[in-house]
């Protein structure tokens, strides 16, 4: 049995990988946020013509493996003349995927806003879009924070699959270093710890955010 020998000189490389992980996660979460909100609004307010296609989208991306989706984008799209860099492919596939999950969380949150809120806004003469912007979404965003935090943390961890399209994110970098030095155990444990620290930092910041924007009488049950 060997002891735990971690070569500290790997750290800068791993930090570089970590940076890419953060970039990919940030980009795909942001993309998924925008698309997710639109999908959720389409589901709730769209009428059949919009709601059904949104539903199909959501079911497709939730019903198929993320890795398959990534490979379709990275290896499949070039057949159609669409050649994206590995980075863009990763962000796009992860973003399209998380959009579907975020859409479901947003839909739940929008539907958790009391019905009378829309009516009151409309009674003042607000258009539907104004009411959604000024009354429904500000409440839905507060309600959604806890489940949305889970999605963010999941995406941070799932982003590791981009190592499979040769990206040197935290996972990819770890794999390369470990393969060159034959110290898989040490390197991957350190990689795991990096993820863990990031996850803890993120969930703490989101908890802080949740407390900051919390309003009496609104929020996830039990957190009031």
């Amino acid at each position: 049995m060997s002891g735990f020998y971690f070569e500290w000189s790997f750290l800068p490389k791993l930090a570089q990988g970590l940076l890419l992980t953060v970039e990919i996660t940030g980009a795909c979460i942001a993309f998924g946020f925008v698309l997710g909100v639109l999908l959720a609004l389409g589901r709730v307010y769209g009428g059949r013509l919009i709601s059904i296609p949104c539903g199909i989208y959501i079911h497709f991306f939730r019903g198929t493996p993320l890795l398959t989706q990534l490979f379709i984008v990275y290896f499949g799209l070039p057949n159609w003349g669409i050649q994206l860099s590995a980075f863009l492919s990763g962000v796009l596939a992860l973003g399209l995927n998380t959009a579907a999950y975020q859409a479901e969380y947003f839909r739940g949150a929008i539907q958790a806003v009391k019905r009378g809120q829309m009516m009151a806004a409309r009674s003042l003469g607000m258009s539907r879009i104004q009411a959604i912007r000024s009354v429904i979404l500000p409440q839905a965003f507060r309600i959604v924070i806890p489940s949305w935090s889970n999605e963010l943390i999941l995406m941070l961890k799932y982003s590791s699959i981009v190592y499979s399209i040769a990206l040197l994110d935290l996972m990819g970098m770890g794999k390369r270093i470990a393969a060159r030095n034959f110290n898989y155990f040490e390197v991957f444990v350190v990689v795991a710890l990096f993820y863990l620290v990031l996850v803890l930092a993120l969930s703490q910041s989101l908890r802080w955010l949740e407390r900051r924007v919390r309003v009496p009488g609104l929020g996830a049950p039990g957190l009031r």
């Binding site: 409309r122 009674s123 003042l124 003469g125 607000m126 258009s127 104004q130 409440q139 309003v215 609104l218």
Partner: protein, 256 residues
């Protein structure tokens, strides 16, 4: 416009509304003069609230027409948002915007709908909150206010839009008995100040002392209407008498 209705602020004509099999409104017509307070009474489930919501089309009537100062509200061509901005609505369960403090609840409409500047809207909102006796509660969130206070904020929210009339949909029905008085007081003061109002309520004291006219509705139609003195002392229709005696038994004769 119809003959003899030129002076009516609001004209409601032959409103029908059906939910599935049940016809909730079976042709309701009335008119409202500027400055008038009309009180609608009647057993629950007779379409009173539906009628109110049909006036500003929060509920779309199946048939019939509504005019506000000669503009047809029910016309497909009308910008309903502009009409609604002129008609205040006070809900039974307040429906204050949960995520906004009292001041923001009141100034949101003027800012978003009327395009009022923030500082102006803030000044106006403070005035309206003071008018309903809630100076000092500007920063309170709805969940931190009592039901009576919430309902008064919602009246202030309606007032801030400078409406031509205000529709009250059972404004005190969701309140604990000891909180009803403070809301009725505000409404009585509004009536005195010349605000045009339609009030659906079970508060007979309020109806008797404030209404210019009472409409008794049952099963989707107007059974009888007239000044309170007439309805209370000499109802023409036996159903009116029956309802009034029953409701007085239930709610007492409390003067609003």
């Amino acid at each position: 416009m119809r003959e003899g209705t030129m002076d009516a602020l609001l004209l409601v004509e032959d409103i029908h509304k059906r939910y599935g099999k049940e016809e909730v409104l079976k042709g309701v017509s009335f008119q409202l003069q500027k400055g008038e307070t009309k009180v609608i009474i009647g057993p629950s489930g007779t379409g009173k609230s539906t009628l109110l919501r049909c006036i500003n089309r929060l509920t779309e009537p199946d048939r019939g027409r509504v005019w506000l100062e000669g503009v047809e509200v029910t016309s497909r061509k009308v910008d309903i948002n502009r009409i609604r901005a002129q008609i205040g609505f006070v809900f039974q369960d307040f429906n204050l915007f949960t995520h906004l403090a009292a001041l923001d609840n009141v100034r949101l409409g003027p800012m978003r709908v009327l395009g009022m500047r923030r500082d102006q809207a803030t000044k106006l909102a403070r005035e309206e909150l003071a008018r309903v006796g809630l100076a000092g509660k500007e920063d309170a969130f709805p969940a931190q206010l009592s039901g009576g206070q919430q309902q008064r904020v919602s009246i202030a929210r309606a007032l801030a839009m400078n409406p031509k009339l205000i529709l009250f949909d059972e404004p005190t029905s969701a309140l604990d008995p000891e909180l009803i008085g403070e809301v009725l007081e505000v409404m009585i003061q509004l009536a005195k100040d010349g605000m045009t109002m339609i009030v659906v309520t079970h508060e007979m004291g309020f109806a008797r002392s404030v209404a210019d006219e009472i409409i008794f509705m049952e099963k989707g139609v107007i059974v009888e209407q007239g000044p309170p003195a007439q309805l209370f002392s000499a109802p023409r229709h036996p159903r009116t008498a029956e309802f009034l005696s029953k409701i007085t038994e239930l709610y007492g004769e409390t003067e609003g």
